[in-house]
Symmetry: C2
Subunit: 467 residues, 2 copies
């Protein structure tokens, strides 16, 4: 082994350092060293290399070692060898060039106060409990868990979810109707890009633009349903083949779907052979009354229930689930592939343990309390500083909607940004074909900041001049 | 709290048990119990529920508790309430029905001897070392790691991979040109479904049918390149826009791409503005000489290098990487989405630790030794039992190809299956438009069985009657 700097070999009439270092023996070290000098241009294309013998003597290695190294680099294309012309640096080796400009201008550490919706408090991730579940899961897993996986997801997780969702969300299912996925967007992809369902798809007139784009990319036309104080006007459903709803807590306007509407959408699905997609994105977080059970419980054969850990635990895990009517299961699994190609199997096993051990319930309870506290602080601060602002959609979830006087939304979002407060206006969530009035408002996420930074964020928000 | 069986309440003239159990207080327990009896059909649709007062008395709870429970179940759609008609079980509640038939007939424990290619020995997953890396990564991760992630992947992992791939595979890159993905198929999806590259795409005339299907789904025409003893005939490249190769170890026939061909394909890419996709699916496993460096090293601006941990560690982790020419980076990241929507961030951090700590190198070395031993046993056993069979493609990888007499492949695969030996014939890997002879052969994976079962698998293989 040669583990240090060696030899200022007068290789090519130049003072060239060859660093024979690292493991794997002299031959490997020489190959690395020669590759390096060719790579970085210290040996120009076309340069003839010294004969084996002389380099071997210079470096104090065997002649065969040099011959092997040259042969290896010829095989890799760095060098060329021709009868009578010796071994030369190949012409085709291109330098890597200057380091590229970073893809995006490095964020100036993000906004001072992040009140955008969509992300739970990343500082509250239960590292210790999760690591314990992960370790237990890894220890207990059968060997086959580390081979190619079932595209439906690990049965341990599907069993844990069937029990948990029945208990906490009123979902009626069995493990064989659950398919594990990487989150809500992945579920939409499987259903529509995978041609399990087809459009046109009715959607709420406010929602995530990202979902609309994903559907458009699958050539699925989305038809907006108006919203009123009872939620989506499902009486507007007609010839659409499916409808996508956020019944527990309309995203982003914040109200639950009225019981009559819940009944009506199931009736529509039965009468027309339609399908209801239930996006239960924050169903665990309801503060002022018990969670409303899933619409799925009313008719498991008409409703696809979709959830994930992205709000309850972390979006970093990329774990979600679909609870499917039986007739869709095979098609969704086929759309996922022959093997598990997406969701990490160790993470699936860890989540199963996390749910079964009760750690998931404990974490959700803790976060519910924390977010409720934040919501209360937000509401109290606004009542004190801006009593004219109506705060809505606060019975559940991780965000509130602040109604603004007509025509003021853009300037308020701008004024907030100027004060370092990042938040979204309602306008960005509006379906481009939505009918009726477009109220001005702010969507204020109260989950994202770490606990110590939340007070300052609310204070900064209250300091934003109205209109 | 009521935590046990309660009350054979004469609710509806029937002897109906309501189980008020579990946490959350009497109200919650009553809601659960009522939901349950409606759900499972013990209370038929249309049945009128008793007045609050009488049920409250029967159960020994407050009148308001019952009123609240009814209201909740009305809100969820289980019950309906009409003036003058009392509270009734809703008509629309459908029973879940009998448990569905399992999606697939439960495998009769798989084949007795699994000699299919494609999967490493799942029993060799380094559980202890991986769990240690995971725990360390989870402990050290900054909070933002649990928020929405960079779609390029964690920088810790990209830095670790840049160093590792340079050292072990001769890849020339920097972290900003690496994009983390869920495996090779995901990389193909991002490139072609994401419209970063377009067809027609030249491919080797033998390869994975699954990849051809994935490309066909993105409307990418694949054009087969003939194979000879020097690998793919890249002199056949013409107007294709890109070429997909397995230069280190042709899949599945097993030879490396000849140095002249490596040079020629880079020359073609430069002359025609083409792109080379280098599938380095088992580049770490080379037995009889040092690994051939990546073609990518010859021209990082013409070659997309794609690898994963699926062969080296486990396909269960769903982690791979693409090393990209700079001009493709933004488009690939855009195709991935605005945030990390796929690869688990904790797993990415764990892999970064696993690589940087040297555990990855140690594991690869250990497995290289193990697989080399298996290969040697296979070759020796075949030489003893079937000396007429030529064994090829054995210098590297996790599988060998056994050449068979013309016309015998199907019957041998069948005879093997009959003896409990699962393996693939060459025919299944052949591009449907491939020209020239279609040699008969078996693709024998020697990585999949656990160590203790390998000897029996080889013995069973040797007992398969030829032809």
């Amino acid at each position: 082994m040669v583990d240090s700097w060696v030899n200022s070999a007068e290789l090519f009439g130049a003072d060239l350092h060859l660093e024979l270092s690292g493991g794997g023996g002299r031959r490997a070290a020489l190959i690395r060293a020669l590759r390096e000098v060719v790579r970085d241009g210290r040996l120009a294309p076309g340069t003839r290399l010294p004969p084996y013998r002389s380099l071997a003597a210079d470096l104090g290695v065997a002649r065969n070692t040099v011959a092997d190294a040259y042969a290896e680099l010829v095989a890799e294309g760095w060098l060329t060898a021709r009868q009578g012309s010796g071994t030369r640096v190949a012409q085709r080796v291109e330098p890597l060039g200057a380091p590229r400009v970073p893809r995006k201008a490095p964020r100036a550490r993000g906004p001072l106060h992040d009140l955008r919706q969509g992300t739970p408090d990343a500082s509250a991730f239960p590292r210790v409990a999760w690591a314990a579940s992960y370790r237990r899961a890894l220890t207990r897993a059968p060997n086959e868990a580390f081979g190619p996986g079932d595209p439906a997801g690990r049965v341990e997780l599907r069993e844990a979810l069937a029990e948990y969702l029945a208990r906490s969300r009123g979902v009626r299912t069995e493990p064989s109707r659950i398919v594990v996925c990487s989150g809500f967007a992945h579920a939409l992809r499987l259903l529509f890009h995978g041609r399990v369902l087809r459009g046109p798809l009715a959607v709420e007139s406010y929602g995530l633009g990202f979902h609309r784009e994903l559907l458009a990319a699958a050539s699925v036309r989305t038809v907006p349903l108006p919203l009123d104080e009872d939620g989506a006007r499902v009486d507007g459903l007609d010839r659409e083949r499916a409808v996508l709803l956020t019944p527990a807590h309309q995203f982003p306007t914040g109200g639950p779907l009225h019981p009559e509407r819940r009944a009506a959408v199931v009736d529509w699905a039965r009468a027309r052979g339609g399908v209801v997609l239930e996006d239960d994105y924050d169903g665990e977080f309801r503060y002022d009354r018990k969670p409303v059970g899933a619409v799925q419980g009313l008719d498991p054969d008409r409703v696809v229930f979709i959830g994930s850990v992205s709000k309850s635990l972390s979006p970093a895990l990329r774990l979600g689930w679909m609870v499917l009517p039986e007739r869709f299961v095979d098609a969704v699994v086929d759309a996922k592939g022959e093997r598990e190609a997406w969701a990490s199997v160790p993470d699936q096993l860890a989540l199963a343990d996390f749910v079964v051990s009760g750690a998931y319930d404990r974490h959700v309870r803790r976060m519910r309390q924390r977010y409720r506290g934040r919501r209360d602080r937000l509401v109290a601060a606004l009542a004190a500083h801006a009593p004219h602002i109506e705060v809505t959609g606060i019975a559940a979830g991780l965000h509130a909607v602040l109604r603004l006087p007509p025509g003021t939304e853009r300037s308020v979002v701008k004024a907030a940004a100027w004060r370092g407060v990042a938040l979204d206006g309602l306008a960005g969530f509006r379906h481009p074909e939505a009918q009726g009035g477009a109220p001005d408002g702010l969507v204020v996420g109260y989950a994202t900041p770490p606990e110590h930074a939340y007070g300052a964020a609310v204070e900064a928000l209250c300091g934003v001049p109205p209109g």
